[in-house]
Symmetry: C2
Subunit: 409 residues, 2 copies
Amino acid sequence: MSLSIKVADDGPGIGEVPGFRASGVHCDVRCTGNPRLDLALIFSEKPAVAAGVFTTNDVKAAPVRFDQRILDGGENFHAIVANSGNANACTGEQGMCDTEAMAAQAAQLLGVEAAQVFVCSTGRIGRALPMDKISNGINGAVKALAATKEQSLNAAWAILTSDTRPKAVTATFEVDGKAVTVSGIGKGAGMIEPNMATMLAFVATDALVSKKSLQAALSDANAESFNAITVDGDMSTNDTVLVLANGESGVNVEDAATGAGQAFRSALKAVCQKLAEKIVGDGERVTKFVTIKVEGAPDDAAAQRVARAVGNSLLVKTSWYGNDPNWGRVLDAAGYARVGLVEAKLDMHYDDIPVISAGTPLHDNLPQWKLAVAKKRFSITLNLNLGSGAFMLHSADLSEGYVDFNKSE
Amino acid sequence: MSLSIKVADDGPGIGEVPGFRASGVHCDVRCTGNPRLDLALIFSEKPAVAAGVFTTNDVKAAPVRFDQRILDGGENFHAIVANSGNANACTGEQGMCDTEAMAAQAAQLLGVEAAQVFVCSTGRIGRALPMDKISNGINGAVKALAATKEQSLNAAWAILTSDTRPKAVTATFEVDGKAVTVSGIGKGAGMIEPNMATMLAFVATDALVSKKSLQAALSDANAESFNAITVDGDMSTNDTVLVLANGESGVNVEDAATGAGQAFRSALKAVCQKLAEKIVGDGERVTKFVTIKVEGAPDDAAAQRVARAVGNSLLVKTSWYGNDPNWGRVLDAAGYARVGLVEAKLDMHYDDIPVISAGTPLHDNLPQWKLAVAKKRFSITLNLNLGSGAFMLHSADLSEGYVDFNKSE
């Protein structure tokens, strides 16, 4: 049995998943007076199971360490509170005190335990949170909680930093007439690389599943979504993906071998992949979305190394920005991944246009190469013809705007 | 016995080392009519021993493979012929034919064997060499060979691509009244990363040494010079360092334990280090020269991983460009090297100004941080306080000019 899954940008928002509510408010975390939304809250009335994946950076922000601790130690969770504008990273003992205070305040107002409230922060590293403002924000966010599209969208806006637009995706499917919803929001923009990004993503679902099975499903989905994107090769201190599942639909998706279980995993993966693509597409001053498909590598890990070498090469990324079909730079980057690439065996395509065949560049195709790389979205396929390893990476160009944007904060 | 070594930018040129001659000519490799010099020749009248280090990229240009082959197979060498403007990389079998033809022509005109002539090419990847022009260039270069400063400088100019200035360094020392000269030229500019760079460096010396001992000395010098720099993290298909030693001085430097042997190794390392620093300082559209010193790492390899993570981070490099003392990005990059960094143990300095002490940022020093990173040259020291591993890397900022320069060729 294969169930039909509907994936949409305009489906039910994260606060509209049955049993959930959400909100996004302004509390001036940046202390600039800019009225942008900067604190989000997601709340499940019933206890929910949770799963998470986190940055593997040695330097982890206080909220990451807090979330890992409560996720490891608990079975039931109720909420996620997240602020943008300040990462609460490299803030010493004060950072953990502030994170715990955020969880405690939200928990008290929501009538739950502090160890049932995840905390996320994203933004500038190394500055203490303005806790008076955050505290006002949490009060406001609890009051604003609603099962509406408006507050769902507010939550999506409130977690953004240098992103230019909110990112929300919802997948739905039906099992025996019962609807299951998987709805997520995300943010990215810079520091988007291996093992996630300066990124946050939160997913709410009313599927019925155990914590263990949910974690396995998330880890699988993550490998082919948030772990398969790069903007600038920098990995942040704060990357976090959290999923809450409250069982409200009554549809049991525990077993990956059942139709419902399969559909849930596909829906979760689709939500994560769409959010990941939106993150790359909205990378800092990005003008191109480029998919790098590496095939025929000795193994999947080797394919990934090649894809990342290409997707993070400054010379490759700047050539994309300039609409220059500079396949030589692609080949050079693939070569320094050092997976044993044999030039004479390599095939390369821009979209479906042959570029290199068995190591020989097909210069007659130059006009078509130029058309392909001038597009806002195109793919590069590298077949190493050495084995069956494969990996697909979504990357972006590097523009003068990126440098201008990041030269100071 | 410790011998005094003199290192100078304006010492004897590479063609003025006793027994050597050099030249640099224009032959229009780029086929643009631009009268810039683009073919260099270095010639030792006597047979010389040689040593080389080469790119470790899986994709090696034809001249790199040729040079590795003749270096492995021979004992005596006479010349290096090098063109800029075209890398002769990813050019298939034609590429190797062209390289062999360059060696054969130069050898015939010089009265030596083709297997005694190294060939180097640097420039755009994936285009066949214009062999008629190259052939004219080799004729002209052989005629122009001279033991003069002018032709030495011409050779230094002729190997440049996007560099803005020639790079030459000479070290001299005396042993029992006999002078020994070690003189080198180099080029870099882009693709400057691990295990060398889009770089070429040629060193001529009249020291008397065996091939084996010379190779060991070069490998040591290389580790702390050309392998300790980064501009954009890209490693090229053509990186090559070659040393020719013709013994003309009569000073035996074979044994590293003797005063002469020590002095020679110091002189060779000094020449390589000065050339490496000039390469970073003349990186594409670079405005800052930043030295990253990592200390107290678990071991030297871990220190190197941390230094490269920091030195290649786009977010760190753009902040340097913007004079922004964004230590948070430095710490973030150090963390994703994943060597087991413990935030609470870390000390960091800009030059000699404390930034982080035992994990705590010293915000009161902000005005001094700003002054330090606004300089054209400054250092960042990271002490992990975990062990005795250390590594020093020279890096550069990333400017809008770099993107503009590289967006198309």
